[in-house]
Symmetry: C2
Subunit: 333 residues, 2 copies
Amino acid sequence: MIKTPYLLFLGDAPDQLAAKVAQGIKDWRPENVVGQLRLEGCQADVGMADMTLEEARQADAKTLVIGVANRGGVISHRWKDVLIHALEMGYDLASGLHNLLRDDADLVKAAQEHGGALHDVRVPDDDYPIAKGRPRAGKRCLAVGTDCSVGKMYTGLAMDAEMRRRGHRSTFRPTGQTGILIAGDGVPLDAVVADFMAGAIEVLTPDNDADHWDHIEGQGSLFHISYSGVTMALIHGGQPDALILSHEPTRKHLRGLSGYPVPPLETLRDLALSLARIANPSCVVAGISINTQHLGASAADALCRETEHRLGLPTVDPYRHGAGRLVDALATL
Amino acid sequence: MIKTPYLLFLGDAPDQLAAKVAQGIKDWRPENVVGQLRLEGCQADVGMADMTLEEARQADAKTLVIGVANRGGVISHRWKDVLIHALEMGYDLASGLHNLLRDDADLVKAAQEHGGALHDVRVPDDDYPIAKGRPRAGKRCLAVGTDCSVGKMYTGLAMDAEMRRRGHRSTFRPTGQTGILIAGDGVPLDAVVADFMAGAIEVLTPDNDADHWDHIEGQGSLFHISYSGVTMALIHGGQPDALILSHEPTRKHLRGLSGYPVPPLETLRDLALSLARIANPSCVVAGISINTQHLGASAADALCRETEHRLGLPTVDPYRHGAGRLVDALATL
């Protein structure tokens, strides 16, 4: 578990997109953030107060979170001076970078000397069990997509936030590095060894109170041949009670797979449900989440209406319309 | 690639079952074996000539293969004396044990001094790519099971052997440690990191001549929630042209999952085929392999006939009946 509150490190981000991890943390867990730290030349701004390491420490910040992608696969000298200074001041560090904090001898030395933790959220624990398949108490919801990168994480975060806003019991369960940095823990599923994927998801979504919902972050797609095994492990390890179908309507083909068509939502519904019922015979498809970022407002509304009519399931873009109707659908389960 | 021929190390195996890896190598690749090495008290015998390290070396043995399970997760002193002596004589070592040769400092030192290789076949290469999904030349066959451990490896080995006996072009492609020791290379899929599972299978089954068949060793089951993600990666990474349905008719429930029923063959057929056609739209189900080891001869024959009639697919137990009819079915594709 990464200690909160955070100071978000934006470094010398060349543009706003490079700081999307920091933006995600600020959007979904603003209560966990005291401010942002930007180096000279930084072109990103997530809308938090600019602070020095010293100012944030006085505001009780515990962890400096690297909320920005780096370039070239190295941690630059400019960054490293800041990171080492932070460790000297008593911060922990957290990162989702490909190049690991723990592989940098200088950071390891400073962390040891000053008692700081180095959280590399791409690296899974190495002691997940084989999945047992035992039915677990509490409710679980999982978004499955017609393709990768269609808004499954956003859907889960939005449903969790809406449930908590209503005073319902709900937890977002991250399975990728951005989600883990947002929520403070989770399983980086794409880095888990094959035999332990489903078991890791069982550990992530344990027994809970009967009225509690886990919103499990989706990964990959059953139709995306590069990552379908990861999606399968989520469905069988998560034993969801409810599935949300996620879709991006303007894709010409699956992401990175030019010969592979995007399947119809009906095909996703039938395949995902038949697989989910192996682990949880009472699983249902509860709603549809459409990512309409590339459509105008009227086209987006029309598409959601048409889809809702066609499949008989509540259909929204949670970014445009909120996740309320998806949460309503869970309330009946 | 593990160098052949092998000397099979049976150690102090307490019974025949403990030497099943050695037995598999002797059964399927006798041409790669010069003999067996047994320590005093060994209760297993795979039916090869007993040889000392020196005798086998004179018979040109290149690799000492540990063909026996050990107890307690350690390499005993008795074993280690033999293994180090082998390295001193110029042998390579190969092992599928959980405790790795490369984690034993004495073996590493001896291997370095004498130029020997230590093959731990449970450990995958760490440089597999993300799967690309590009259609590949040549033909591929994959056995998929109603459950784990129903005879998928045996089916693949038997079909490969029958095709080669007929003079057809065929390669067995191992995905588990026993298969890898039998064939000399392969991918230990259950130990591959999630993101690279399907890519590893693409590397294992590359472009080939149009009339060449890969027989990919199956793993897990789409219905076994502990391992279904591994099976999915095999189906999507292997892009099979033909599936063989594998079944063990006396199971009361899925292996190790007491609440999970064994699905009917029809359910496996429909699910596996719909998933396989995502990667290869021309995939077909070619036949059925039933493991009848717990049935008498007449019950076994009757079950195969009944199943063949019900599903309209050639149905055999390759151990009882040979794999000829399954190979015949591939010839029409």
